[in-house]
Amino acid sequence: MKAAVIVFPGSNCDRDVQVSIEQSTGKPCAMIWHKETELPDLDLIVIPGGFSYGDYLRSGAIAAHSPIMREVKARADSGVAVLGICNGFHVLTETQLLPGILMRNAGLKFICRDVDLRVETTNSMFTQSYAKDQVICIPIAHNDGNYMTDADTLKMLEDEDRIAFRYCDAAGGIGEAGNPNGSMANIAGILNRRRNILGMMPHPERLADQLLGGIDGRPMFDGLVEALAA
């Protein structure tokens, strides 16, 4: 699997996700500066977490207009896998590669903690290594993770099995108790229709190493390697 991480001014989880990818592939993962206009031959493009452009204007809004994003869109349209984590999810909604928006957390505070997620679909290369309804523990760290969309879009996401993860309680229950940020329908991550783009607020790269407290994030990267091995 050939992978690259896009680096914007203010990205700060770029190295973290690079480490996780390299751990799963055993191969170097490229870092691409946002001013580039071309991408090498790739199987996976990652838009990392952080504070691109300091979250000025709106999280991800300015990065969405970086030169490289035109090329990222073109690759996504051609079926290349794109994973947006946290601020990367913001960028994907701002470019309209994914529907909906991410508002300020309901509690109006930055939240950094491990949360439980329920795997809603295994029908994607990002989630195929998990079991459906499996409860996994993945950290969040964001100000703006409160997912919101209109009723029709929500129905479409549900009907098309495009919700990848929902926030849940330890037993897998979907309710207010397990919802850290007020997201509509407890949505933590969604897929595009073609299922080659995943945007998610939680950080799988942060729990992919036992020494850091868990490895529930690792199957995502291992699964991608398996799906995209070429």
Binding site: G10, V19, G49, G50, C112, E205, L211
Partner: protein, 729 residues
């Protein structure tokens, strides 16, 4: 006619004697810009004029110290060609005036000190002290300070891995915000501030200079009065996004060999940074203020020299390397300007509009900076309180629950949830333990980091309190299995012009010095914050210590959580049941009295070395130091962290039960083990007292045959206070 009236001199915080010295050095009357420069350079904040005499007595050297006090931060060798670079700094006055920006820029400033030296910051810590919880300002200050710290650290992508937070009425009018950053660099790639090379270019990078923070250093060198709110314009405004870019651009340029010397602009901005670089390098500087990037075109020389706008750096480059450096800063969309050059005149010459607007001698100004031997009186030693004179509680378990649910013991998750403590992917032990532990990226090594202070002890007996704070820091590093390397100190005190405050300062310094020497735990950086007073009411003496240790194998780091049922619990160290000045006495009896527990440093070292050896050999499953609240609170913390109870068999010592449970004797640890025999044998070999005092298991903490409390009940008391307090109207 003189332009500089006595009123102007006074407004600049200079005494008459100090102004006479200014006239002597200048040989003429200074203009207003020059007077402003003297004022900030000789402010307490920048000159350490009241503390210098005593700081010199601290222990600052050990073979692993690469750079001690005097640079932007201290440096210790952590092996394999790597160094840890760290410092703690106060941002107390600005944080009280404007909590969000005050705390945020404190964090930004300390990170700049670290990456100025070539290190990538890898961990942030903070020690916060607020007034009593029911003071009308406290909640607002907590909200603002925590959000401010989070906003800066989170955006920078540097994890905030731990710290401490206490409430006490002595901070009602002066909160303390002490921020620490630890960075890692290759020992071959460390950068210092000394300038060198006649004619070499002086370069300005980062944000533009604005009118914010003018006279911040002078403000931080005076007491608060009724007009404190009017000082808000002296607080700087932070932009962590720009600082993240400055960090990346600096590290990119530092990978080349173009830099001669580099200095961040902190307190007193352009003035302090250029003076420091020139004075260390023994050179002169000629600066053209027209070339300084500005936010407002009509800024005066005075404003430009005294602005404390954030996210700015100044550096001396090798000649001919300007374009290479400019390209890097332009890539990161930052300002880059050659604003002057080094000279051999030994003078700082400022030009503007083709005219000389300031001309000051560098060395005389630096050397003649005032140094005071302020009068001081030693603090009277309080009487030792006998445990027998402290009433026993009806139910020790209820007392325990009350203590761990009190503001100072309650869990501070409400705070650390707002800090990204995992970014960079190396946080091995998160906030809440004895020390935070971060892996040194790409290696097996770990750094343990802790911040500590017990102002209650320092107030009762500054000397013993000063010893204790260093010992506790050393103990916290040891409790995770790391070798303690060095400390940074952030010395927060009241008005040094009052002899009793100066006496507290001297006592603490002497105690700290003795502990640092015996524990081979030197001070390598720090700062002093005086004038933490409002209308004559000073804070308790608060010499906050930030400690750093190293683990050769980070996977061996111990945690304080009970790990498995049926482990034996061993108490290491001697217990006498010292209740004087204890948390028990304050929280349960409402008495703030008595001598604090004495610290025997030789025993501290012996016990700690033994415990560290046990962790390294893998014979203990959990380890926790015993501090505030004694062995009972320590056990409760281990139980709550591990979600597991324990049965305590109190040994027959003749000590009253409540004194045995809550006494705060020093140099003690609780460890758990599958193999208590080996633990006891190792302790005996080292001459360390050790006793099996119980066994892990069940979901309750029990004492003897009849007393017990469930772990979940303890947890709710411990976890509920802070969120309830912050959400209450």
């Amino acid at each position: 006619m003189s332009n500089i009236t006595p009123e102007i001199v006074k407004e600049h915080g200079l005494t008459e004697d100090e102004y006479d010295k200014v006239l002597e050095i200048m040989g003429r009357e200074p203009n207003i810009t020059e007077l402003g420069i003297f004022s900030v350079m000789w402010s307490e904040h920048c000159s350490y004029k009241s503390s210098k005499k005593w700081l010199k007595t601290l222990h600052t050297e050990e073979p692993w110290v690469i750079c001690g006090p005097g640079e932007n931060a201290g440096i210790v060798d952590i092996g394999d060609g790597q160094a840890a670079i760290f410092k703690m700094e106060s941002h107390n006055h600005p944080s009280f005036i404007e909590p969000f920006q005050g705390a945020a820029t404190g964090v930004g400033g300390i990170m700049r000190d670290i990456f100025t030296m070539g290190a990538r910051p890898v961990a942030n810590m903070n020690a916060l002290r607020f007034g009593r919880p029911d003071h009308p300002k406290t909640k607002h200050l907590v909200n603002g300070v925590v959000a401010g710290i989070g906003s800066y650290g989170n955006c920078m992508g540097v994890p905030t891995v731990g710290g401490e937070c206490e409430f006490d009425t002595s901070y009602d009018g002066n909160i303390l915000v002490n921020a620490m950053t630890v960075g890692v660099a290759d020992t071959e790639k460390i950068f210092y501030s000394a300038a060198a090379g006649e004619g070499y270019p002086l370069v300005y990078v980062g944000s533009r200079t604005g009118r914010d923070g003018i006279h911040g250093a002078t403000m931080a060198s005076a007491e608060f009065d009724d007009d404190t709110d009017e000082k808000r314009p002296t607080v700087q405004v932070g932009d962590p996004f720009t600082e993240k870019l400055v960090l990346e651009a600096c590290l990119e340029l530092m990978a080349t060999d173009a830099i001669i010397g580099i200095q961040d602009m902190g307190a007193a901005g352009l003035t302090c940074s250029t003076f420091e670089m020139a004075s260390k390098g023994g050179v002169g500087v000629e600066m053209d203020l027209d070339l300084v990037p500005k936010r407002a075109a009509d800024m005066t020389a005075y404003e430009l020299m005294l602005s404390e706008s954030q996210e700015r750096m100044v550096m001396v480059l090798k000649p001919g390397r300007e374009e290479e450096a400019r390209k890097i800063f332009e890539k990161w969309e930052l300002n880059f300007a050659v604003i002057g050059k080094l000279t051999d005149t030994g003078r700082l010459v400022l030009k503007m509009g083709g005219e000389i607007v300031g001309d000051l001698p560098i060395d005389p100004l630096a050397e003649a900076s005032p140094e005071y031997d302020r009068p001081w009186v030693p603090t009277a030693k309080p009487a030792v309180i006998d445990a027998a004179d402290v009433a026993a509680p009806n139910d020790p378990c209820a007392a325990l629950k009350r203590m761990i649910g009190s503001p100072n013991f309650a869990q501070k998750r409400w705070i650390w949830d707002q800090y990204d403590h995992m970014v960079m992917g190396d946080t091995v032990q998160r906030p809440g333990g004895d020390s935070a532990v971060v892996r040194v990226h790409g290696t097996q090594k770990g750094l343990a980091v802790t911040t500590d202070c017990t102002p209650r002890y320092c107030y009762a007996d500054p000397f013993e309190g000063g010893k204790q704070v260093v010992a506790e820091s050393w103990r916290n590093i040891t409790a995770v299995g790391a070798k303690p390397l060095a400390i940074t100190d952030c010395l927060n005190f009241g008005n040094p012009e009052r002899p009793e405050i100066m006496g507290q300062f001297v006592g603490c310094i002497e105690g700290m010095g003795e502990a640092c020497r015996t524990l081979e735990y030197p001070v390598i950086s720090g700062n002093v914050s005086f004038y933490n007073e409002t209308r004559g009411e000073g804070i308790r003496p608060t010499p906050t210590i930030g400690g750093v240790g190293v683990l050769a194998d980070v996977s061996k780091a111990a945690t304080c959580a009970f790990e498995a049922e049926g482990d034996d619990i061993v108490l290491i160290g001697e217990t006498t049941g010292h209740l004087g000045c204890s948390a028990y006495l304050v929280e349960i009896e409402g008495r703030d009295a008595g001598a604090p527990p004495p610290v025997d440093l030789a025993i501290e070292r012996r016990n700690g070395d033994a415990v560290r050896g046990m962790i390294d050999e893998g014979v203990v499953s959990a380890c926790h130091d015993i501090s505030d609240g004694g062995v009972f609170v320590a056990m409760a913390e281990m139980a709550m962290a591990g979600n597991m109870g324990a049965a305590i068999d109190v040994p027959d010592t003749g000590i009253p039960l409540h004194a045995w449970l809550f006494g705060e004797d020093q140099a003690r640890y609780v460890v758990t083990s599958r193999d208590a025999k080996t633990v006891l044998a190792k302790a005996a070999d080292a001459g360390v007292p050790a006793t099996v005092i119980g066994r892990t298991g069940s979901d309750r903490l029990t004492v003897g045959p009849s007393l017990s409390i469930s772990v979940s009940e303890l947890k709710s008391a411990h976890e509920d206070w802070m969120p309830k307090f912050m959400s209450a109207p």
